[in-house]
């Protein structure tokens, strides 16, 4: 199986809604060179650059061709990976595989998004384009405008997630109060993470409950922001990791299984056969594969920390279940007991997660990066109170059908 590989350096930028002080190239360089500094290496040492973002949001086609100069691409093998929301997770996998395959001893994975480069608010441009072709197709067939608005736009950014939340609540018995609790926890955690976007010190569920209802069960306070930001990880082979780093975050397992597209329409406006978008078969299988690589038999006992990709609070709960961290339908019970808090038994999204910071291309890479920081003990104020030995980083994207799962640990396999 894979040769031992570890993350030895992490870098990220401050995330905020508009980073107008830098160009997208400079934003990327900020994270890249922070990671190199953290790892104690220079760009000359790097063997391979894996990068990615969602180009529709930035308006530049294949931006790595232009901004490659800012992340050390010239003269090196450079691969661009983009898979929608999972872009960051896929980039992390790319960098990890580059080293695990034995092709390179040092690789970096860089992911970014600069939403403010788009004139349309938030992520609408990019999200619209996912279905643009389908929309152009359906309009001549008399798609009713009312239906279109009702089905796509009621939740504005929420999209299918709002239906997904309803599915989950129905299945598990979770209520809107649980969503408030997750959102409050994430904003509270984010306040301790200097790089996070939506920071709200001591935020309580009651504060979130006061925010405006967008579409039941989602309130304004539940929804992730659209952030500008970049992140970067440095991946090294076993020999180099031991030489360069006191406590590397070792790769134990990784997988990215995809399901059928879940967002109602397939290519050419056909239906899709996924009846319950919170079932997430891809996440279940990815987790199973990653655990088996990592030699984990009982994730509920062995995993100490989770970084879950949760633009919406319901996702934190059901993805934790699908990843095998809780039994199906029980995540909210652990939430009530505070087990997912910083001092709980399974601290979840101590960075604030995607719910607090969402630079789409970079979001899933940040999950991996935060797990690495926790294992290295470098998370600072949001370091978990328990010792983190094994952590799981999750990403989802596409139209809720792509999953990336990465399991990291404090000792090599």
């Amino acid at each position: 199986m894979l040769r031992n590989t570890a993350i030895i350096g992490c870098g990220q930028t401050k995330h905020t809604s508009k980073r107008r002080d830098v160009s997208v190239a400079e934003l990327v360089a900020e994270a890249t060179y922070a990671a190199l500094e953290d790892a104690g290496i220079t760009m000359k040492d790097v063997g391979c650059v894996v990068s990615g973002n969602m180009q529709g949001f930035g308006g530049v086609a294949q931006p790595d061709l232009w901004i490659g100069d800012w992340m050390g691409c010239p003269g090196k093998p450079a691969i661009r990976i983009a898979t929608g929301g999972t872009t960051g997770g896929s980039v992390a996998h790319g960098a990890l595989y580059a080293v695990a395959s034995g092709m390179f001893d040092l690789a970096i994975g860089v992911a970014w998004e600069k939403h403010s480069d788009s004139k349309e608010a938030g992520a609408t441009t990019g999200l619209m384009h996912v279905g643009m072709a389908n929309l152009f197709h359906a309009l001549p067939y008399g798609l009713s405008l009312k239906n279109l608005i009702a089905t796509t736009a009621v939740g504005a950014a929420a999209g299918v997630a709002v239906y997904q939340a309803r599915f989950y609540m129905h299945r598990s018995g979770a209520t809107i109060e649980h969503l408030d609790m997750v959102a409050a926890k994430d904003r509270r955690n984010a306040a301790k993470n200097i790089y996070a976007h939506l920071q709200w010190p001591n935020c309580q569920p009651e504060d979130i409950a006061k925010t405006e209802m967008i579409a039941y069960p989602f309130r304004y306070g539940h929804v992730c922001p659209a952030s500008d930001g970049a992140s970067c990880i440095v991946v090294a082979s076993e020999k180099l990791a031991k030489k360069l780093c006191k406590q590397p975050a070792w790769l134990l397992g990784l997988a990215s299984y995809s399901d059928e597209e879940n967002q109602l329409q397939s290519e050419n406006y056909g239906g899709v056969g996924v009846l319950d978008p919170c079932e997430q078969m891809g996440a279940r299988i990815s987790a199973k594969k990653a655990y088996s690589m990592a030699g984990i038999t009982d994730p509920q006992k062995e995993i100490d920390l989770a970084e879950i990709y949760q633009p919406f609070p319901s996702q934190e709960m059901f993805f934790a279940e699908r990843l095998g961290l809780f039994d199906d339908g029980t995540a909210w019970r652990y939430l009530e007991k505070g087990e997912t808090d910083i001092n709980g038994s399974l601290p979840t999204d101590l960075s604030g997660g995607v719910n607090a910071t969402n630079a789409i291309g970079s979001s899933a890479l940040q999950r991996v990066l935060e797990c690495a920081l926790q294992i290295q003990g470098k998370a600072g104020e949001h370091q978990a109170s328990r010792k983190v030995r094994k952590a799981i980083a999750h990403g989802w994207g596409g139209v809720t059908n792509y999953i990336t799962v990465t399991v990291l640990g404090d000792t090599p396999r």
Binding site: D21, A29, Y33, K114, F136
Partner: protein, 158 residues
């Protein structure tokens, strides 16, 4: 298995356009603002000495950081390294349009910098162009602080 050509063409809606406004960052902002005063700023890498136009904050050759102190003003004169005659142009929507009067495009390696810039060439006929010619910028009468302030490049007067 081959499918029968049972497909239809779906056309987009031309008025649907995605608009962008890219932030430029401090080095580039200084560069663009200098263009408004008909000045060209380059950035010289403090490590390897490579000189970039437009000015920027990170060296692609040696990864060194560049700051305001590394900005140098250059004349804009340069050597023609290549040229081409455009018979067609893209209209922004992906269509080729034939140009009534073909346009000359040149690649100019700036004399006081290492970068090559790409500009329209005027005030010279195509057959008279020679690689190695000295070129100089012609500015728009009204400059607004953008790359478009440079109108074209023309042969430099000796």
């Amino acid at each position: 298995m081959e499918t029968k050509p049972d497909v239809i063409t779906v056309n987009g809606i031309p008025i649907v356009v995605a608009n962008f406004n890219w932030s430029v960052g401090f080095q580039m902002e200084k560069f663009l603002k200098a263009l408004a005063t008909k000045k060209i700023l380059a950035a010289k890498c403090p490590e390897c000495g490579y000189i970039y136009v437009p000015a920027r904050n990170r060296c692609g050759k040696c990864s060194a950081k560049m700051e305001e102190k590394d900005l140098v003003e250059i004349s804009g004169k340069g050597t023609l390294v290549s040229y081409t005659l455009a018979y067609v142009a893209l209209d922004g929507k992906g269509n080729w349009t034939d140009l009534e009067k073909p346009k000359i495009i040149g690649a100019i390696k700036l004399n006081e910098a290492n970068s090559t810039i790409f500009m329209p060439l005027e005030e010279i006929d195509y057959p008279n162009l020679k690689i190695g010619m000295l070129m100089e910028p012609a500015w728009n009468s009204e400059t607004k602080g953008g790359w478009k302030d440079l109108k074209y490049m023309k042969p430099a007067k000796a």
